[in-house]
């Protein structure tokens, strides 16, 4: 526990100092923090609960659209629309999960793709609702306490707050009764049921929490982009990217998804000139490497080695 609090402290300290040290590299840091937050939220369901979702871009899109449309059409401030998006995401996840959690195994993953694709088609075609295929543009934003929300620095701190909140949530849950329920359901649904845990209710709660947290990041992403196109924000590729970030970093670990975000966004940035728009190639290669050689992911593998070393030491001493 203290270890994780120290980690959180380091994240905050580095985050606070970052804009002063690297004022020109803020955009990439914003991506890292947003992906860290999304992947950690995804991990609540996909890692801790073992339900691999390939539709999380829906919640990103939901958050972004609420902020953009609320601002451009109704003049609502982003904090109100983000709160609304969170609630709507949780309700959507409730019904989505209620429909799909009856299916086990690959069926759940498959149905998440279908639901996300349907949402994307609705966003593209229903012009009255979403501005259609051309997208929505955020022209003005309010200035709370004189802070310009269009400035990268402000957006960086929002993304930092988002990542910190999500990771803290997971730290708390990992120690709570709910966290143990999540893991029990992941390991064996039938045994979990025998121990008095309702697997469907547990999965539903995990999905709702995961969706709500993801949509907050989506709202921030909407402000960062300032221009939202449905085929970008609802893309299957974004869903896949979120899932792979968590899996490569280490599923079911607290810091895995964040480490995954640093590694993947960093690698993407490094090879950007080499691969241009084909930079998802790195995700493909890394996921193969992880599946074949480090099935626990980066952090999961490090943690396993650490534990083995501790055991070895105890056995000797």
């Amino acid at each position: 526990m203290t270890k994780h609090l120290i980690g959180l402290g380091v994240l905050l300290a580095v985050g606070m100092a970052y804009p002063a040290i690297f004022p020109n590299n803020l955009t990439i840091a914003v991506s890292v923090l947003l992906f860290a937050g999304w992947a950690t939220s995804w991990d609540l369901l996909g890692g801790w609960n073992g339900q691999v979702s390939l539709g999380h871009a829906s919640f990103v899109g939901l958050g972004a659209y609420f902020v953009a449309i609320g601002q451009s059409q109704f003049g609502l401030a982003p904090w109100w629309t983000m709160a609304m998006a969170t609630a709507v995401a949780a309700v959507l996840a409730y019904f989505w999960g209620w429909l799909t959690f009856r299916l086990r195994g690959p069926y759940f993953s498959l149905s998440t793709i279908a639901v996300a694709e349907i949402l994307r088609l609705v966003a593209i075609n229903e012009e009255w609702l979403s501005g259609g295929a051309t997208g929505v543009f955020i022209a003005t934003l309010p200035e709370p306490f004189g802070i310009d929300l269009f400035s990268r620095t402000a957006q960086f701190y929002m993304a930092l707050a988002f990542a910190t909140v999500v990771i803290s949530t997971v730290i708390v849950i990992s120690r709570a009764r709910f966290g143990y329920q999540l893991r029990a359901v992941r390991e064996d649904e039938d045994s979990a049921m025998a121990a008095g845990i309702d697997p469907t209710a547990t999965k539903l709660k995990a999905f709702m929490l995961s969706a709500a947290l993801t949509s907050i990041g989506g709202g921030i992403y909407g402000i960062v982009l300032a221009f939202i196109e449905p085929h970008v924000i609802f893309a299957l590729l974004l869903s896949v990217q979120i899932a792979l970030t968590a899996i490569i970093g280490g599923r079911g670990t607290i810091w895995g998804p964040a480490v995954g975000a640093i590694v993947l966004i960093g690698a993407g940035e490094m090879f950007r000139t080499t691969f241009a728009e084909a930079n998802m190639l790195i995700y493909g290669i890394l996921i193969l490497v992880v599946v074949l050689f480090v099935p626990r992911g980066i952090v999961g593998e490090l943690a396993r080695r650490h534990i083995r070393r501790l055991y070895a030491k105890r056995a000797q001493g």
């Binding site: 799909t100 299916l103 195994g105 279908a114 996921i287 599946v291």
Partner: protein
Amino acid sequence: MAELDIFLQNIANGVLIGGVYALIGIGLTLVFGVMRTINFAHGDFVVLGMYSAVLFNALLGWDPYLSLLLAMPIGFFAGVIVERFILSRVIDAPPESALLATLGISLIIGNAILLTFGGEPRSVQVSYASSTFSIAGVNVSMVLLLAGIATVIMIAALYVLLNRTEVGRAIRGTAENRLGAELVGIDTRRIHSIVFGLGVMLAVMAGVTLIPLLFATPTNTGAVFTLKAFVVTVLGGLGNVGAAIAGGILLGVVEVLGASYFMSEYREAYGLIAFLLILLFRPEGLFGRTVKRV
């Protein structure tokens, strides 16, 4: 009368395009039935087939159907290699590992094509692209008709392979019970390679037959076809080859009818909605046994 004509026209188009969907779906369902692996890269193999036709056309000036002669064996061996070096290593790991591995393969194929061919849509111009065939007042496009004929030949060949040959028996045996098949002396690793090779070959073939009709783009088309293949197989029941044919035709008809009688911009969504409804109410598929095998 005109309305009936249009209706028949739509049905004919739906059935023919559905035949190609069936071809894609059979590949996916065969792999799932035998290896218990959901192949996320399946649609990308279809796209690979499309680009192979584009390549042969650009280099040698071949007609897409002529390039099948080379593309199909290449597809088969590509599948065997992918299975040998990647999938066979994760076959006994938790089921998600194989799924994630195929997701990785899908990203690698899509982006490798993007690097080689660039992002702009590609197609092959054939002289018969716009010629049509008239049967009892129903106009059928030549391209679709050829695709339909190719599908029927391929399905017949596959039927013979699965039901009349020793390899087919071994494949069916492995699908039914892998351990049992090993006990009676079937080399299931070899069968897995063959089946994955066949799956890729079918995908490549579907891609080649579709190229005169559709434009290929590197990354998006792959995902679209993978989704369609899922829809087809789930409509019919995962792991059931015969049902995938029915599922494919059903998807083709649903898409075409939905697009012409309701809202055409939701063409892609009708299949997905049917897919969700089937998943919810009959996850074993329309024609599957009521026993849940997954």
